[in-house]
């Protein structure tokens, strides 16, 4: 599975990348904000997007909205991993079509659980 991680902090990208490798996902690319990520998503066959919210340039919520507005990306699973934890923000992300939401700091177990849940739900709707 080809995954794109979007976060402006390279340490966080590395942490997520290492956790994903541990979970068996080795095909991972990185971008440091939505402006860089969006063309990559449009060009490459990504199957999963993990994005931060607060980034300079295009934020994660804007990226999510752009993804959902693109007919080719409308069904792309998106997991938000962010320090933003106000209720109205979580609701906004849900309404914008996010598939999972993790607040930082998080654990390896939480990441695994949320990813598993996202793909369980997607596979269930396919059948």
């Amino acid at each position: 599975m080809k995954i794109l991680i979007v976060d402006d902090f390279s340490t966080m990208r590395r942490i997520i990348k290492n956790l994903l490798r541990d979970l068996g996902y080795g095909n991972v690319d990185e971008a440091d904000d939505g402006n860089k990520a969006l063309p990559m998503l449009k060009a490459g066959a990504y199957e999963f997007l993990i994005t931060d919210w607060n980034m300079p340039g295009m934020t994660g919520i804007e990226l999510l909205k752009n993804v959902r507005a693109d007919p080719n990306l409308v069904t792309l699973p998106v997991l938000m991993v962010t320090a933003e934890q106000k209720r109205e923000q979580i609701v906004e992300a849900a309404e914008a079509g996010v598939n999972g939401y993790i607040v930082k700091p998080f654990t390896a177990t939480t990441l695994k659980e949320k990813i598993d849940k996202i793909f369980e739900r997607i596979n269930a709707t396919k059948i």
Binding site: F9, W53, N54, A83, R87, V103, K104, P105, F106, A108
Partner: protein, 247 residues
Amino acid sequence: MEQNEAVDYQVARLNLARDLVSALEQDRHDDADIILLNMAGLRESYLFQELGKLTRELHEALKNFMLDDRIASMAVEDIPDARVRLERVIDMTDQSATRTLNAVEAALPLCASLIEVSGVLAMEWNRFIKKEMKPEEFKEFGKRVGGYFSSGNNDIVSVETHLKDILMAQDFQDLTGQIIKKVIKLVDEVEKNLVNLIKLAGGKRAPTAAEKSKEDELAGPQVPGLESSTAVKGQDEVDALLASFGF
């Protein structure tokens, strides 16, 4: 404008004075009394006008001096908030460094013992290859190799756990970075407002700095003691909230 008012005032006084002289010369004492009253009234109204002007100027000056409410709110709220935020950064870096050092200190002895045992076994293995090992010695060697495989495997798994812990401990960099960025933004704003204040004191007030709309800003990591009233307490509350959306 002000000069015109002053000239008008002088002209009016002069005219009244001339009328007064002619009234007195013509023995019109009642008229003279009225003119004297008018002169006093004229002086009073001029003084009131001047006083009103001064009051307005003072009011404007005080208003400008406050440079909108931002400086006040920065001093009362944002600077103390920044202090709490920076203390949070110290705590988080301290926790992360402690977590990392604990993991390293736990993993290093495991590595040392693995290095030592595997070194000894390698030497004995060489003796076996060179056929220098007696059959009874080989039996013991075999036991030690078996022991190494089981305990060594446990040790390696522990080392891996500690390494993962070190990996996760690095999440502080992202979170403290976000907090520090907010404080830098505040310092930037304080600087701009101070420059404005200096310009004002020098009589050259710069156009008011663009009012900051705090609402556009993202909340970022919650800092203990400064939590937003609408912030969730952790992942469990996120999950509960999203459950209502069918997640």
